[in-house]
């Protein structure tokens, strides 16, 4: 297990069931602060279920229930009474397919701050500009802020969605296959952006692309059949993993 790194997300004996299906079993993990952690594993291994646990998205699935605790800093986000709207402000999420709102580029980014009470026009403009700059898309859209977000390319839409998440200043960013629908250049732009963002934000990314996990992350967790099999520095996972199941998966010898 990784030691000596300040922890941002502390998960203790986390279990998730969908009805009778035990989707995650006793997952404990310390996800390092302001760094990138990748979660890998075959389809159905529980990695996305785990990711959705970190911002309580599983609550939206009627048959889902969970046990165990997830702490972000000194806050137990699995405690009853947790304000999930407030939680999702601190824990942003980016999905596989870019999902901009059917609004202008400006209004997409201003949406979160407005929901959380910012109404001042110049304050909103500053947030929109700052967020688009942090998402490395400002130069491409600064002259067309009032055009529909749907006029952007897929890669631009995804960076817009990242800007939208950044607008409410999250501490954590969850990314579920953020580049799997994008072309290689757009993918590299997202990856480069992640490297910038990790200076301020803890990023957890689920990816099926092993090379991407190796390129972007400092730490990698391998899930199999709902269990966290191995968690270590990515350089260890991809060059000399300790568990044979991890080795079989990362070398593509997995049945």
């Amino acid at each position: 297990m990784v030691t000596g790194v300040p922890n941002s997300i502390s998960v203790r004996d986390f279990n998730v069931w969908y009805g009778d299906l035990h989707a995650l079993t006793n997952v404990s993990i310390e996800i390092p602060f302001r760094d990138i952690t990748a979660l890998i594993g075959p389809s159905g291994c529980g990695k996305s279920t785990f990711l959705r646990g970190i911002n309580r998205m599983n609550d939206l699935i009627p048959s889902a229930r969970s046990t165990g605790e997830i702490w972000i800093g000194d806050r137990n986000i699995t405690a009853p009474g947790t304000d999930v709207v407030e939680l999702r402000k601190d824990v942003g999420m980016v999905f596989q397919r870019p999902n901009p709102f059917p609004k202008s580029i400006f209004d997409n980014v201003a949406y979160g701050p407005r929901v959380h009470g910012t109404t001042d026009r110049s304050r909103l403009s500053a947030i929109v500009e700052g967020s688009l700059k942090r998402a490395a898309i400002w130069d491409e859209v600064k002259d067309v802020l009032h055009k529909s977000a749907f006029e952007l390319s897929g890669g631009q839409q995804q960076r817009l969605c990242i800007a939208r998440a950044l607008a409410v200043e999250p501490q954590v960013m969850l990314m579920d296959e953020p580049a799997s629908a994008l072309d290689p250049i757009s993918t590299l732009k997202i990856e480069e952006l992640m490297h910038e963002l990790k200076k301020d934000i803890t990023i957890v990314i689920v990816t099926h692309n092993m090379q991407q996990a190796a390129r972007v992350s400092s730490f990698t967790g391998f899930f199999l059949s709902g269990e966290l099999i191995e968690f270590d520095e990515s350089s260890v996972i991809f060059t000399r993993p300790h568990d044979k199941r991890t080795e079989d998966y990362v070398t593509g010898r997995f049945g």
Binding site: M210, Q211, T239, T246, T251, G252, R253, F254, G255
Partner: protein, 221 residues
Amino acid sequence: MDGAQTRKSFDEELQEMKQDILKMGSVVEEMLAGSVKALRDRDVALADEIIAKDDVVDEYNLTIEQHCLRLLALQQPMARDLRMIAAGLYIIKDVERMGDYALDIAKAAKKLAGMAPVKDLVKIPQMGRIVQRMLHDSLHAFVNHDVEAISEIAREDDEVDALYREVRDEMIALIEGDPKLALRAVELVLVARYLERIADHITNVGERIAYMETGQIRELH
């Protein structure tokens, strides 16, 4: 799908790479045995045969290196596959150097064949036999993923080092007794030194096998 079958063509390519390294090593083994024999038997024709084989080794070196680079670029290997290809790239450099030393021994054999012998050669052929066995065992350990064989290689390297020092001391004594023997004695010290260096390169191969199998770099000498 059966796990072992998911990367069948890649596995075949890795096998081919390993077999090529084994073939390259076999040529160097022949060069090594032949060059020491040519020295002992004062056989110029054999020495010439050995010298000609160096091109074969260089050709293998280039071909295997290209193959490894192609696998890195096209297959994006991870973990044990990555370690094996990285080990392969290092090992061919060591084996290529061993070939160069065998070539130097063959050249020395040719030079010494034209002069009167200084003494019966015992220790140098003994070193040659040990080094040849070490090379054979190390390359089979690479192909068979046999990390256990490495400690034997390290032990034999110590034996070769000791024999080298004995040859050197004998030759110093010879030169001190009769300075006219100096040229031939120095040539023999160099041959012993080449063999000692070959053994060092073989221990490098052993270190790479250990890395390939365990992921840990381990110094053997």
